[in-house]
Homo-oligomer: 307 residues x 2
């Protein structure tokens, strides 16, 4: 990406989780070497967005459930491999940063981004700065509790927003519903390779779009929980923009309209007065341009602070 | 207050709500004139903490339900009356600021303060700055939804934290419980002037301390909702300190222990790792020293920014 935010070249590759940190780092090294050979000028820095809990001081990965990593000094490793400054950040924060600098939240200093995919992640810009918290763990918006008697979440708690609206939770709810009563679930099972266990959130979303009553009722629960979760976020953060994205939102874009209406009705008037609820503008490139810009910004802040 | 945070003199007076903005402003003017006469040196500024929604730019009061004020230019009015710089802020933010600069949260840059009185208010310090939001309305921590099917809140939504744990909600729950079944509620009614309508949160707290089963069960619901609300706040903000105060907490201090245990068990480990949950350290003077320090800090920031 150049300094104007234009992606000048790209290489897309699958993450070989089974190859471990060294294998993935080698893949990244190879890709960046190729990009450098193809580029017209020398690079300033490398920005990395990665699913996991990142140490804000040294860019090491404390924990990444998706990659099964614990305590991987990713930033240091890549700097040694590449001979370039590297800045590692969380993937959802990278997306948030991208939408803030170049996308749907451009020009606003108070922004909440909520991404609903298999899991639910988020990023918060407050007074023009990324909310990071005491140990760089702030912004776990999927784990606000919307129902104290709600379903169990993967985090061990119950009633989390994610346990209602995450892709895994949608699939679980659909499977449980069909298990209890197959009536009405025939098309869903058919679309899922003939088994209840094969039911996915994608299948639920697809049939809901076609008007399937069972899937519509499941999406209705998702919309209900998502609305209340967003009302909480608006009351707490009073954002100018609430940006929504992720696979579930892309699969059922009407959820954005539902949240917009619900927030208008149910959030505190002062907290919602200046708010717009909208989808992200950059699609899958948000994380790319966000991680890159965040890297340059972080280095420039360090230079200004004299270290 | 002097610049070291020591309260050098004070006048305490009741707010004459019925006298309206002009009457209350005149009372404040009179008190400050008396303090100036008694003081050894000239004052720098006047800090005001007031229950309501404040405009962050000009210190006017958009709305104060307690005072029944709408669009009162309090900061301008007081500056004209006093001939001194005045900085008006929200009362709960003043308390948060006081605990941050001088009290239980001193030295920590990420702090959540939750105050449970008749209503529930809060303040959030993030990266060393007060969270203000897009229209200075951020931090309405009492209006995160903890139960999508929960009881109606005064804000018009349902299931808000405040609708479970605010003093008014505790009184409502106790009254409803006794109305449905007087058995077990005899002592509570007796303590409340003999009427169900007279039951207050204070009476519930007092009898709970004495082991009254009905009141203990009501406080149990409060503790349950408060725990889940605090888990949400910890997951979202990853604070170093969660400070709890207000009349309900002072009436049932065990609630702090319950929240501490619950957060340890139920919040995300990364979000809660560095956390301490504790009561405020300054009691009723937190708002006084907070408003005063906030005023000086705001003026100094303005001077640095050149206006």
């Amino acid at each position: 990406m150049d300094l104007e935010g234009v992606v000048r070249d790209s290489i897309k590759m699958s993450t070989r989780v089974e190859s471990g940190p060294a294998g993935i780092e080698a893949d990244i090294e190879r890709a960046i070497r190729e990009l450098r050979e193809r580029a017209k000028g020398p690079p300033i820095a490398v920005g990395v967005g990665i699913a996991g809990q990142i140490d804000g001081r040294d860019g090491s990965v404390h924990f990444s459930p998706n990659l099964n990593w614990r305590e991987v000094p990713l930033q240091r490793d890549l700097e040694q491999r590449l001979g370039l400054p590297v800045v590692v950040t969380n993937d959802v924060r990278a997306i948030t940063w991208g939408e803030w600098v170049y996308g749907a939240a451009k020009g606003f200093n108070d922004v909440v981004c909520l991404f609903v995919g298999t899991g639910v992640g988020g990023g918060v810009i407050s007074a023009g700065r990324m909310l990071s918290g005491c140990a760089n763990a702030a912004g776990e918006l999927g784990h606000i509790v919307v129902d104290i008697d709600g379903p169990v979440c993967t985090c061990g708690n119950r009633g989390c927003l994610e346990a209602f609206v995450g892709g895994w939770a949608i699939a679980r709810r659909a499977q449980q519903t069909v298990k209890q009563d197959r009536n009405g679930g025939e098309r869903l099972v058919e679309l899922s390779g003939g088994t209840i266990e094969g039911i996915t959130a994608e299948a639920v979303a697809r049939l809901a779009r076609g008007g399937d009553p069972l899937c519509l009722s499941i999406i209705d629960v998702v919309g209900h929980a998502l609305t209340f979760g967003c009302v909480s976020l608006v009351n707490v953060f009073n954002p100018c923009r609430l940006i929504m994205g992720g696979g579930v939102i892309e699969g059922v874009p009407e959820l954005i309209d539902r949240v917009r209406d619900g927030v208008r009705r149910l959030a505190l008037p002062a907290a919602a007065a200046a708010l717009e609820v909208m989808p992200g503008a950059l699609g899958s490139s948000a994380g790319v341009v966000g991680a890159a810009n965040f890297a340059v910004r972080t280095l420039s802040d360090k230079a200004r602070a004299g270290g």
